[in-house]
Each structure stands twice: as structure tokens, then as C-alpha cells.
Amino acid sequence: MAEEPIKDREKADSEVPIDFSKFVEVRKIKEKYPEAIVDLKYFRDELTIVLKKEYLLNVCFLLRDDPETKYNFLTEVIGVHYPNREKPFEVVYHLYSVEYARRVRLKVMLGEDEEVESVYPVWPSANWYERECFDMFGIRFTNHPDLRRILLPEDWEGYPLRKDYPLEGPPGYREKWLKEHLSLYNKL
């Protein structure tokens, strides 16, 4: 029983060209927004659709509302930082359809100063996911209702999950922060 998916996986790995039109998501997007898709990937039974960022919101609405896809659950919004690329930021959206038990991954590439449209109007849960993404990477989402830091303190400097941020924080920052915030203790 456990062997069959493994074979599938190996097939997927072995560069066999995949007919992406068998995926209903791809078909639907191509039908409505023919130039939205930049790239398609299939790895370990998971479909990744790389989108042009202008189309993101429209595609999300399409995938949520279409009766054949019904992606009614936004699992998460993830930032990834590739400092060496031309467009260093990647925003990854994982969608899940409760009815069809299917997953799909949407991706948008962003330049250093580029913003991406917030998917808050599609799934309100994007609120916190995008706030976390902003908190950790400094990726800005336009039209987000409340874009503030969420896990770190309001006055934190820098975006810790970027690759150029050292693990222990910038040198001297911790001492400085403690000094500012524990001034009461220092007085005692």
C-alpha cells in the first residue's frame, strides 16, 4: 500500500514532462487569465503555480469561487528570501479546498521594494498571516487593513527571517534594546 505513492514520486522526480492541463486549477486560470501564469511546477505530488503579481487577487477569487475548485481555506502565507535573485522575495500561498481535499500552492515573486496585493478580501485569515510575513521579511501588502508587527515588539528594527539578518541579531542590538526597555531596572 505504501509503495505506490513512492513510485509516483520517483516518476515526478525524473523530469518526465507533465501535462499540466490535467490540473483543473491550471485549466481554470488559463481560461480566464491566459497570461497570469509564469511557471508551473510539480514536485512530490504538489502543484505549484507561479503567478504574475498583478493577477494574484483575481486568481484567488477565481479559485475560491469556482465550483470546481472551491479553495475556501487559506492555509498560510509564507515569505521566502533569496538574496541572490533579481527578485529576492517569494510569497507563497497555500490553499486548501475542504470539499475536494485538494491543495495548491501559489507563488508570487517580488523585487526589493515591490508590494503585493493583500488577499484579505478573499480570505480574512490572511490578516495575521500577512502580518507575520511583514514582521519577518518586511514584505508590504497593499490594502491590508492592519499591517503591523505581530510576533516581534512594535519597535523592533530589521526583519529577522531575511537571510542577511544574523541569527543572534545585529551586533550590539540586543544590548541596546535591553538598555532601552529595561531602563527601570538600570535605575534600580
Binding site: M1, R44, N72, I78, V80, H94, L167
Partner: protein, 398 residues
């Protein structure tokens, strides 16, 4: 006389009241204005289950507005992951939801195995499921204990701890750790179960359903319990899904969605269990879901024991190199953790360390629907609502 009283009142207001203080330059108006009282609930509060902080705007005791403030337990787990090898990260996953650490390990090792295409020995799969389900029972027991305590039922708390203790003993027997077990490894589990473990586990499965009856005697049809939970903190299925609610909390709103059934992983497709779904949408329905889930988990544990007894011996660990380098790529693996959908998104660049690791923590997403649930309710219901979505702050803040 009236002037005298007024000046006295102004004096008192200037000295400060619990509502605030009359500052210089403020005009004391005869037409009293109604203002919301802002109350800070947490981060140190007996029933915010850790360091959750809620800022409540109250009119009397009724909640007008609410903000959830998190991050007090942020440890930068995702950043740490980028500086550790795949093996080294396993202990850190324990510290996410520290009340059900095997379930957390499970999600992570499954994700890595999916990334690297590792096949796990079938015995290890059963052991994993067994431990994960025990963890689910233990987590739900602690949830029931604290939830009931929040609503004032003190005895349930200690009853639940009695049974949780038995599970922790089982964990200790198999793994050496009680709370933080770190039992799972990439490609299997750390070691096979000790000989007497299955017997003790079977004993527990015999006792446990009877003990659930004990809790039922105190809560299930208790009038006070009903009046505190029925129709409290309602959230509809659509709204819950839109706000990212998952796991038992959304099953309490009538959504039949359990990842163990809908996207089966490991050996869940060979096990017989029912998905607990109730459509009350309220605190009571979520209580019923978790109550039934405990019993169903107990059933799964029994089946695992049966299988493990029938098939003794065999490998519990696939051959995974010490210097472990998965192929380039990205995977997302979700499991049904006790709190909801736990997902690990791993981006690999082919090196020993994950390039990026994102944890989709169920409690983090579940917390988003708390303001929606609580609006218009009383302070006492906030406590019930927090309890009913079962947050663990280690997981929320990561």
C-alpha cells in the same frame, strides 16, 4: 452645596479612579459621557493559557471590541531551523505544542520524509500513530481540565490530570521523556517500544472510557455547564473557514474535515475511526467534538496495539544517512495535530540544512477567530471561548 459636591468629585477624579484620571485642562462635564473601559487580560492571567494578552473594550461587562496581542513567547524557531541540520531540528518541534510533542514531531518528520522520498518501515508507522494518538488524548485531557477549571469546575481538572499522568508514564516508558519526548526520527522512531509497553497501554485503553464517564457525570448534562457553554462564542462554518479555523474547533461548527480522513497520511487509511463532527457552532459543540475525539483516539490506539502485537519485531528505522541531504525542492506536509492543521513547509537547497522552514501552527490561525467569537459576549464568556479553541502559546508564537 451642589458646588461643593462638584468640586469634591473633581478632586477625586483628579486623584485618579480605576477608569482613568482627570488631567489638567480636561473639562468636567455635567453631561456624563459613556466610555468603554479598556481592560488588559494577560499576559499574566490565570486563564489565558500562558502568555496570551487580550485587550478588551468593555461596556459594563459586555465586550465591545477586542484585540489579541501575541508574541510574548516568540523564540524564533523558524530562524533557528535554518541554522540546524534536519536531524537537529526535531527537538525544537517538541517545543511548539509542548502538550502534544509527538504530534509535532510527526508533522515535521513526515514533511522531511516526503521531501527526501524516504520509505518508513510499517512497524514504525504504527508506533508513530500510536504515540500521536496518545498525545492527542493527553492534549485533549489537559484541554478539558483547564477549560473546565476556567468555567469553575475544579474537580474535573484533577480527574483529567490523573489520566494524563498515566499517558505521561507511558511516554516516559517508551521515550524517557514525559512532556518533551523527541521520539520520532527521520525515517522511523528512535527505538522500538519496550516489552511491557503494549500491555500497559492496553490497560489504559480499558480504563480510559470509564474515566470519560466520570467527566461526563460532572459536565455532560450539568445544567450550569450547559448554560455556560451552549450558544456561547458561536461561529459559523463559513466564517470559521474564512478565518482559518481548523481542527476540532471547526468540526464543532459542522465541517466534516479531518486530515487523517480527508488526506490520509501514515497508516491512518488502514485504521477504523469516526470523525467527530457536531454542528452546534458553540463552545459546547467543541467540547463534544474533543470528548468524542478522545474516545476515537482510544479506539485507534487499541487497533495499533493489536497490529503491533500481531506483528512483533522488525525494523523501526529506515536507513537514513547521518549526513542527510535531501534533494532540491519544496514540500508542504500537513497533519491533524490535536489543535488543528499543523503544516510544515520546507524549502530545500540541497544542503544539510533547510533553506526555509515555515510552521503552520494551528493555534496561531485559530486565535484569529477569537474576536469574532467574543464580540457582544460577557467577560466570563471570553474565558470559555479561549478554552474552547484550545490555544497553546508555544505554538502560536513559535
Amino acid at each position: 452645596m451642589a458646588k461643593k459636591i462638584e468640586s469634591k468629585v473633581i478632586d477625586v477624579l483628579k486623584r485618579g479612579t480605576p477608569f482613568g484620571r482627570l488631567e489638567e485642562g480636561d473639562v468636567f462635564n455635567e453631561n456624563l459621557k459613556i466610555e468603554d473601559v479598556w481592560i488588559n487580560m494577560g499576559p499574566q492571567h490565570p486563564s489565558t493559557h500562558g502568555v496570551l494578552r487580550l485587550v478588551l473594550a468593555l461596556q459594563g461587562e459586555r465586550i465591545v471590541d477586542m484585540e489579541v496581542v501575541i508574541g510574548y513567547l516568540h523564540r524564533g524557531t523558524e530562524k533557528l531551523a535554518e541554522f540546524r541540520t534536519y536531524h537537529q531540528f526535531i527537538p525544537l518541534t517538541d517545543r511548539l505544542d509542548y502538550l502534544a510533542s509527538p504530534a509535532m514531531n510527526f508533522g515535521y518528520v513526515l514533511a522531511v520524509e516526503k521531501l527526501a522520498g524516504i520509505e518508513v518501515p510499517i512497524r514504525a508507522e504504527y508506533i508513530r500513530v500510536l504515540m500521536a494518538e496518545l498525545a492527542r488524548i493527553s492534549s485533549h485531557l489537559l484541554w478539558l481540565a483547564t477549560h473546565a477549571l476556567d468555567i469553575g469546575a475544579m474537580t474535573v481538572f484533577l480527574y483529567c490530570f490523573r489520566e494524563r499522568e498515566m499517558i505521561l508514564d507511558l511516554f516516559e516508558m517508551a521515550t524517557g521523556g514525559r512532556l518533551i519526548t523527541t521520539y520520532y526520527r527521520i525515517g522511523g522512531v528512535a527505538n522500538d517500544l519496550p516489552d511491557y509497553f503494549l500491555d500497559r497501554c492496553e490497560e489504559f485503553c480499558e480504563i480510559f472510557p470509564k474515566r470519560v464517564e466520570d467527566y461526563d457525570a460532572l459536565l455532560y448534562s450539568n445544567r450550569i455547564w450547559l448554560s455556560r457553554t451552549v450558544n456561547i462564542a458561536k461561529i459559523s462554518a463559513e466564517k470559521g473557514l474564512a478565518l482559518g479555523l481548523s481542527g476540532p474547533s471547526i468540526r464543532g461548527s459542522g465541517v466534516n474535515w479531518d486530515l487523517r480522513r480527508s488526506n490520509p497520511y501514515s497508516v491512518y487509511d488502514k485504521l477504523d475511526f469516526e470523525v467527530a463532527v457536531f454542528d452546534g457552532c458553540d463552545v459546547y459543540a467543541r467540547y463534544l467534538v474533543r470528548r468524542k475525539e478522545m474516545l476515537e483516539s482510544c479506539k485507534i490506539v487499541k487497533q495499533c496495539i493489536e497490529w503491533l502485537k500481531k506483528n512483533p519485531g522488525g525494523e523501526v528505522q529506515a536507513k537514513v544517512p547521518k549526513v542527510f541531504k535531501p534533494p532540491v525542492g519544496e514540500v508542504y506536509q500537513a497533519v491533524e495535530a490535536p489543535k488543528g492543521e499543523l503544516g510544515f513547509y520546507i524549502v530545500s537547497d540541497g544542503s544539510q540544512r533547510p533553506y526555509r522552514l515555515k510552521i503552520r501552527a494551528p493555534s496561531f490561525a485559530n486565535l484569529m477567530s477569537l474576536p469574532e467569537m467574543c464580540k457582544g459576549h460577557l467577560v466570563a464568556d471570553v474565558v470559555a471561548a479561549i478554552g474552547s479553541i484550545d490555544v497553546v502559546l508555544g505554538e502560536v508564537d513559535r
